[in-house]
């Protein structure tokens, strides 16, 4: 028994099994979150549009009560609809798996996995919590976090392009072409808009960026969340941070193909875009990949601008003993709450702005966002160098 415990405490083995446990945990949490993001999307969308949305498919809790002979309150009006994701998943599983005869089979099959793979891999470097019992709550603590995310998440477009090309059909092809050009025009702004942050923090490690925000206040609320007044430099840096936040979030919308930049899908124009020819589980994978990408993007925004897992007055998980574990868990909950808040913002924006016309999209990307992000770097550099 002791020998087994010793084996698990061996540094290398410890690293491996904790990493595996964290990966499994984050996968479960994120996939569960995906299904309920879809539910939230449907429900919030309908509430915004003065409808009720899916409110029928509930969990049969009252049946459970009847089984044990307990007279329970009927929770279905409140919990109604919470079973919808399960019903959706079952529906997609049971649908006919149809591959049209005219597609390029190999790439047609590879494309959906590429889309979701990229989105999930990018999650690896996001610090989703402080630490629990000395184990840092990040799967891969690498020094090139943001670069890794940019590199991997731009691979996600291969899924779309391959799907569009292998479908051998005009609408998916349009979607794929649009997606490519959209990616090229927004990836630049995306990358440039976070450079000011790296100038401020001085590190490219996401864990260090969060720790900096814990010590000095969130990027968007400098000083205040750390429980002190911001210094002159911090107050001055708030302006470029805000600009960076706006450009970064906008670029993230384009990156995750969300409205107002959902040109690759554009139901009204392209019959669903790149996944027109897909059905059943392959379509579900695209769906999953899209929402996972959304969650990855939201986590990235939270990590960079909204203080990651930090909540004022709640210490990190580095405390000794049980309080440390509890605080670590609270930190994880805080992180995912923030992510969910950003996702709700994504959804609200979806029903606020109409889709951009293609040339407007290009103009916004190349003429406005790119320049603003570039100027923002100089502004930040100036403040960092001269305002003290």
């Amino acid at each position: 028994m002791n020998a087994i415990l010793e084996f698990f405490k061996d540094p290398l083995v410890f690293l491996i099994w904790t990493t595996l446990a964290k990966s499994a945990g984050i996968l479960c949490v994120v996939l569960g979150m995906v299904s309920y993001t879809v539910y939230a999307e449907r429900r919030v969308s309908s509430l915004i549009q003065d409808r009720l949305g899916p409110n029928r498919t509930g969990f049969p809790i009252s049946l459970l009560g009847n089984l044990f002979g307990i007279k329970w309150r009927d929770w279905s009006p409140i919990l109604g609809g919470l079973g919808q994701p399960i019903a959706d998943a079952l529906k997609l599983l049971l649908k006919e798996e149809f591959t049209p005869a005219f597609v390029n089979k190999l790439y047609f099959w590879i494309a959906p996995t590429l889309g979701i793979g990229a989105a999930i891999i990018a999650l690896a470097v996001i610090p989703f919590g402080s630490s629990i019992a000395g184990v840092p709550m990040v799967i891969a603590n690498v020094d090139i976090g943001p670069l890794f995310i940019f590199a991997i998440s731009s691979l996600g477009v291969y899924g779309i392009v391959l799907a569009g090309w292998s479908s051998n059909s005009k609408y998916p092809f349009f979607g794929a072409v649009r997606s490519t050009s959209q990616l090229i025009s927004y990836e630049l702004a995306l990358g440039l808009s976070v450079v000011p942050l790296f100038l401020i923090v001085g590190k490219l490690n996401l864990v260090d960026i969060v720790n900096y925000q814990v010590a000095n206040g969130w990027t968007l609320l400098p000083g205040i969340t750390a429980g002190k007044l911001p210094t002159l430099q911090q107050a001055a840096l708030w302006v470029p941070s805000l600009i960076a936040f706006v450009t970064f979030t906008t670029a993230m919308f384009a990156e995750t193909n969300r409205l107002p930049f959902d040109l690759p899908e554009a139901e009204t124009e392209l019959v669903g875009g790149y996944h027109t020819e897909y059905s059943s589980l392959k379509f579900a994978l695209f769906f999953l990949g899209e929402y996972t990408a959304m969650i990855t993007g939201a986590s990235f925004i939270v990590t960079l601008f909204l203080g990651g897992w930090h909540c004022p007055f709640i210490p990190s998980g580095s405390l000794a003993g049980w309080p440390g574990v509890v605080c670590g868990l609270i930190n994880i909950a805080v992180f995912f709450t923030k992510v969910f808040g950003v996702l709700l913002f994504f959804i609200a924006i979806r029903w606020t702005l109409p889709r951009f016309r293609y040339d407007q999209l290009m103009k916004l990307g190349w003429i406005w966002m790119f320049e603003v992000a570039l100027l923002n770097i100089f502004l930040t550099a100036f403040i960092v160098a001269f305002v003290h």
């Binding site: 915004i48 003065d50 409808r51 706006v246 609200a348 606020t352």
Partner: protein, 176 residues
């Protein structure tokens, strides 16, 4: 002929775009907030709420066979409804009333009367054509079954749905 659509002059706030986004968000979230407080009037929640009480008198629901004061089905199996029915949903098998019966002079009665509710289009022509005021479209609209056979209303069902209806012409009664 080419028609030039005048471009609107945008203010600075509109050109920057961010303020307009915020204004849009205010509207969107305003709707959400009104909805969450229950101030928005949403559509009827069907199985729980029904509009039955407000159905107009001319509402055309399921066709039914009505009975008269003597608890007789008014239908005389003339088959006019069967002939006029556009989707041919009605099937009538006429039967003869025996001569010793009190209503022997009516001569015929429907031995079987079936309306296929899958075919029925609720046009009301059967009601209109009926010379005996025997078939009426009721306000019944929840018609369901788990098989095609269940969707065919037979005579018993039609009579049950029709129920008693008084105050109609009673030409077959004994003269007073």
């Amino acid at each position: 002929m080419a028609y030039q659509v005048p471009r609107p002059k945008l203010t600075l706030a509109e050109k920057i775009y961010i303020p307009t986004v915020l204004a849009g968000l205010r509207i969107t979230l305003g709707h959400l907030w009104r909805m969450l407080r229950g101030k928005t009037h949403v559509c009827m929640q069907y199985p729980e709420e029904k509009w039955d009480a407000n159905l107009p008198d001319y509402y055309r629901g399921a066709p039914t066979l009505v009975s008269d004061e003597q608890d007789r089905t008014r239908c005389v199996a003339c088959q006019l409804c069967e002939f006029i029915c556009p989707p041919r949903a009605i099937r009538i098998k006429p039967g003869e009333i025996p001569s010793e019966d009190k209503f022997a002079k009516v001569e015929k009665y429907p031995e079987a009367f079936e309306i296929d509710m899958i075919r029925c289009i609720y046009c009301g022509l059967c009601q209109e054509v009926c010379p005996e005021q025997a078939i009426f479209l009721k306000k019944e609209y929840v018609i369901n079954g788990t098989s095609r056979a269940q969707m065919v209303h037979d005579k018993a069902k039609l009579v049950e749905m029709g129920g008693l209806r008084t105050g109609l012409v009673n030409k077959w009664n004994e003269k007073k």
